[in-house]
């Protein structure tokens, strides 16, 4: 939403400037008026979008920032204790808390791993799909759409069943092929094994998006271009590197930004699969940590500060990407 809004906004103004201005008369005043009108017109077109954005995005973000500057707990909300403006105290508390930094580190690493794996699996399968026989391709698509359509909560529960220490199919299979050390093995006991388990579920339910998008991108490359390159004597790897990848870049970038945002904000999978953050909170990520602080512990002010930090981080990532895009002359 944040990434696309300014770009959408620009187009009406662009169209508008090419339109002939108001009724031409000898008098200069109507001309000026029409200039004013022209200045207002784009805003008028934008108004519906702006109103929706302000109501659905601006106001909540304003309240989020606002709440993060107060000592705002359940007692304050229900009017039992006085509301106290504490400025940046909530942020100071967070920054001084080693757990926050651990959680932030977890989040960044976990999100990065998920993004890379999702893109890798999705793109590989997309390339594969272009070379498969139609019925195999259809099967691949139907199966992955099934994974995509599965709600996060259901998917997590199913994966938990599969990886259950005693009753899970995975452990049973491993034991049956002779790996007896997996009898009763808990996949969430170790921090990294826990993250790995959740990451595999996340990749499983998000690679189809990459698959479908990249596949569509590849299909959209006109065969003439490839044909021309081939006639010029380009090898297949060369075509992939110099023709297909550059043409797919906008798509890959959109998919990457989306993945970063999604994976940074992961909640359900961690919450369900590691039972709210794992043993002694070892699998906490920012969103679950924020939920734990804001809603479970009723520290709304502190939780909001976490929310602000997350929003700022995501905005920063998105802006950096948009900047890179602009510099290379490939606006979305």
């Amino acid at each position: 939403m944040t990434a696309l809004a300014p770009l959408q906004a620009e187009s009406p103004r662009g169209n508008n400037s090419t339109r002939p201005s108001g009724t031409p008369t000898a008098d200069s005043r109507p001309v000026r008026r029409s200039k004013v009108k022209r200045g207002l017109e784009p805003w008028l077109y934008l108004a519906p979008a702006f109103i929706v954005l302000i109501a659905l995005l601006g106001y909540p973000i304003f309240q989020l920032i606002n709440v993060s500057l107060y000592d705002y707990r359940q007692a304050q909300v229900s009017g039992k204790a006085p509301l106290r403006f504490t400025g940046l105290e909530n942020y100071q508390k967070l920054f001084a808390d080693p757990q926050f930094w651990t959680v932030l580190g977890n989040t960044v690493m976990f999100a990065a791993a998920c993004v890379v794996l999702t893109l890798l699996v999705g793109s590989t399968l997309a390339v594969l799909a272009t070379r498969l026989r139609p019925w195999v391709r259809s099967t691949l698509f139907i199966v992955s759409l099934g994974a995509w359509a599965t709600p996060a909560v259901t998917g997590s529960a199913v994966w938990l069943f599969l990886f259950d220490p005693t009753l899970g199919l995975v452990n049973k299979t491993l034991v049956s092929i002779g790996l007896t050390q997996f009898a009763g093995h808990s996949w969430t006991y170790d921090k990294w094994s826990g993250f790995g388990l959740v990451a595999s579920e996340v990749v499983w339910c998000s690679f189809p998006f990459v698959l479908v998008t990249v596949y569509a991108g590849i299909q959209a490359i006109s065969t003439e271009v490839i044909e021309a390159a081939r006639i010029d004597g380009a090898t297949m790897p060369r075509i992939a590197r110099s023709i297909m990848l550059p043409m797919l870049r906008p798509i890959v970038i959109v998919v990457t930004i989306q993945s970063i945002i999604w994976n940074f904000k992961i909640f359900s999978q961690i919450y369900i699969m590691t039972n709210g953050g794992g043993i002694a909170g070892q699998n906490l990520v920012l969103n679950v940590y924020g939920y734990q602080q804001a809603f479970a512990a009723s520290l709304y002010g502190l939780g909001s500060a976490l929310g602000v930090i997350m929003t700022a981080l995501l905005m920063a990532i998105t802006l950096v990407y948009l900047r890179i895009l602009k510099r290379t002359g490939e606006a979305l």
Partner: protein
Amino acid sequence: MKIARTAAAVALAALALTSCAPPTSDNAVSSSDEQTGTVRVWLFSEVNQDPKSAVVKEAVAEFEAAHSGAKIDVQYIPVDSRAERFKAAFNDPSSAPDVAEFGNTDLASYVASGGLANVTEDIKAWDEARDLDSKILATTEIDGKNYGVPWFVGVRALYYRTDLLQQLGLEVPKTLADVETVARAVRTANPGMLGISVGGAAQFSAMPYLWANGGSIATREGDTFVSGLDSTESREGVAAYTRLLKDDICPAQTCAEFGGNASVQQFIAGKSAMTIGGDFNYKAVAASAVKDKFAVVAVPGKTAGSVAPAFAGGNNLGVFNSSTHRTLAADFVKLLASKKYQQKMFDSMGNLPTFSDVQKDVAASNAQVAPFIQTLGAGTNFVPVTESWSTIDAQGVFTGMYQKIVTGKADVNTATSEAADAMNKAFGAK
């Protein structure tokens, strides 16, 4: 677009500067006390709902017959989403009920939110109240005022497999040290079996160990609480409990993540020789495959013949501050929590009564509740009655301490000191 963004930023900054404080609700005590109308009641829904509904229906009929013009509207709310429901009710008094059932560990935070009415006078004026178990009544008390009436209690005791102990010629544990030896002996003889299923997240199984060793979670000092987890006695208790979560009894790999329910499930599944389970688990165990092969005793203390202080769990009935039917609401609480209806709740649900005399009655006629009643009689203990406890609980400070020790992330001294610090920070954050 740049202008728009700047304008938006300026507008936001301006709004913030004009100190648009975040919204708060006025949760003042309602001034009206209507004698007729509908009294809204929230009770927890149960897995097995019918017996509860039947008893409540009877109480409602009796109440409505005695109070003409009054109607009781009972809603059953899920336990899992209670936090959201109650917070919403405190934030918007118009959607709040008049009477509600709630867990006794939630009481302090509800009171801090200004949601619950002080019912001290109602309890004083109620003749049945003098038979209420004083230790249980104390869990509803903050600064000398009561904010709820104990409806039923839940305590945990030691479940053990009679057949396994007999096979190995082991005696029923008489001390906490015995529990450890017996558990180890059973697992040595049956490597596929957990000696005792306890959990890193089963805080109420861990508490008796802490208290039996003379330790404490926190004690009140003036206005605030001070954590006692880093005392020598507490450390002994923590160490004793975490010794159970070792490979030779209940391997951390398996047990570190167990909560109370998961531990009992292992016993029900026949995978453990002992467990610390509640009276509320009895029915499930008695209906399981091990039904003819188990018995229950009070969790023993440090010396033979003593009982480890158990955590006095349970639910209260309370009146909402915002209720516009204060008297009717209190009357309904007194009826539903009366000896008569507690007896009925015991008969249909197995909920342990909170009146000492009713407890004795039910123990005399129902052998299976005797160990639990004995545990209650030996004196129970409770978590610190302060709103900070729900923060501490939500942050997993107490269970995290045990989990860090059993997974080898910290030793007993470090983990207890860390937990004590975290708790003191939460207690101080008023």
